[in-house]
Symmetry: C2
Amino acid sequence: MSADSPHLGILGGGQLAQMLALAALPLGVRVTVLEPDAQAPARLCATHLHAPYTDAAGLDALAACDAVTLEFENVPVEALTALEGRVPVRPGRGLLERSKHRAREKEALRAAGAQTAPFMVIETGTDLDGALERVGGQGILKTSELGYDGKGQARVSDTAGLRVAWDELGRVPCVLEGLVQFRREVSLAVARGPDGALAFGPLTQNVHRDGILRTSLFLEGDPHEAQAREIAGRVAQAWALEGLMTLEFFQLPGGELLVNEVAPRVHNSGHLTQDGGGVSQFEAQVRAVLGLPLADWRPLHPCAMVNIIGIEGPDGQNLGPDWAGIDALPGTRLHLYHKAWRAGRKLGHVNLVAADEATLRERLAILEEFIP
Amino acid sequence: MSADSPHLGILGGGQLAQMLALAALPLGVRVTVLEPDAQAPARLCATHLHAPYTDAAGLDALAACDAVTLEFENVPVEALTALEGRVPVRPGRGLLERSKHRAREKEALRAAGAQTAPFMVIETGTDLDGALERVGGQGILKTSELGYDGKGQARVSDTAGLRVAWDELGRVPCVLEGLVQFRREVSLAVARGPDGALAFGPLTQNVHRDGILRTSLFLEGDPHEAQAREIAGRVAQAWALEGLMTLEFFQLPGGELLVNEVAPRVHNSGHLTQDGGGVSQFEAQVRAVLGLPLADWRPLHPCAMVNIIGIEGPDGQNLGPDWAGIDALPGTRLHLYHKAWRAGRKLGHVNLVAADEATLRERLAILEEFIP
């Protein structure tokens, strides 16, 4: 950190960019986002270049920043090309292209020595033959690109079903992942500075609902954190990460961690770091991208997060949370994104803190009742 | 809290407004500030009405908000008059006029049953006769209005010196306060909603240097917190506070608390609430002003704050902090205001957290070495 005012550019202006900007300002960092949506959440706390991601003037403005990062991996390649050689983009193009393509990502994870579920790359109809058997007889077919929050995927348990699923996904390149019987889903983020220094976030336990993250939980002293750090650190070094990335894992009944997905950025499962008394994942990404000093970021006490997702009631009405209940429950911290309501949309999250695990679990059970 | 997007107006756009806006956004609250300085810190995270406080169009825009608050008490009375009856201004005009006038404030504190140091109101030359004896023989002469951070005051120990001091202060209305031998300075904030509900911040211990706050410290279980809460609650009720105000106290050797000053807003001594794992004073003010549910806001673990003030070195250069040292010290949280450097100016602060008091004190001793 210096007394100068570094300037961070962000491709994208959604809630992750909003929270990156909110974390950057107190560090003395100015933020500019390039984002085509006039109502994007980050407009409220950053200079908003209201233009397509490929807009030449917008990219020129980002190129004048000290460094550029992103809040989503599906940045058009033209944007990255236009910035190349003019400003450090962190993470860099190679890592981004890998992490937005499931097949390449899994191959690169294995090359780095991390384990994944069994998978088969499906590019042509003949790739379907025998694929399901080779991944263990049951699987999930996922498009290689552009899938998120459970979109672009289908569960299959026989070859006929696999063929139907591939047709329905439009016969685009896919990955067939073997279905893993896991004990729990956990995640952990790693940051790596341009100097190669590594730092880690906490291990969180995650529960999904309908393919979207519902709850994350941080408890002190998780016995599998060391294993997750070891894997994340190895991948970050092998991929020459500059910035922050989050690894989602399946933990097998024997304790072993398989990498499920990698996001080259802050992640919904790390939002609880905003209120745990430690540095947040957003500050960690800002620091890593700008080459500021890094240290492990972890909560000082147990904490959790529950997502607020737009839920449509039986009569089409917005089934919102019980706001009064949330406000009255000790330890809740509200984070709303200033987005218009839409069914299935992430509208905000509630972080929850407590001095000890038992109190946190009691409060979390109540909080989950308040959020449909 | 509701799913609607409340709109908060703020008179002033300095660092307090900036931090109010940073706390308001995650609550789903939009913020507009009226502030004549083009480079004001709050411009980075709020809609900035760049105009004088008495600008008609600017005041119209504030009048369209759900409520208006302020970050400093010396708001021109014309601005308050223009808003009257159009939008709730919290705290209200009566309380503001009292808290920007030392004599009226002290009289109103006593009327509410709070104790203050002995004082004499000095409005004419004849008020000086015998005044020093009546406050105990030594005192501090302070202008009734517009003094802050040690400006507009002089220490006096005889009547000749008192006359000189009054001349130097321009013979404006003053208060002569008796010098109090105190054991420590502490402060505590109280918030009161429009419904009369009260909530309190933590008791902090404060150390000043050259009339400006240098360090604040929060430790769990301070035996004098109950007394401070009782006084603050009594004054808030008597003054019909709507919003948040901070009381600064002198603690006498016997333990008794005298009220030194009242700020009708968040206060530098409460900045440590940003990183203690609890709700911050900024969120508390936003909630109180908008009539959102309130609860006591207090850190979950020991924490402290050290101000970063512009210090001019012997050759006129900027003696900045040791940024690398601050970054390397565990538990530091940086808050920079994006203000140009000037000697004597508050440029930012560093909050410090630790899991226990002993660790906090060790780290604080090191941190103080890093900040000149």
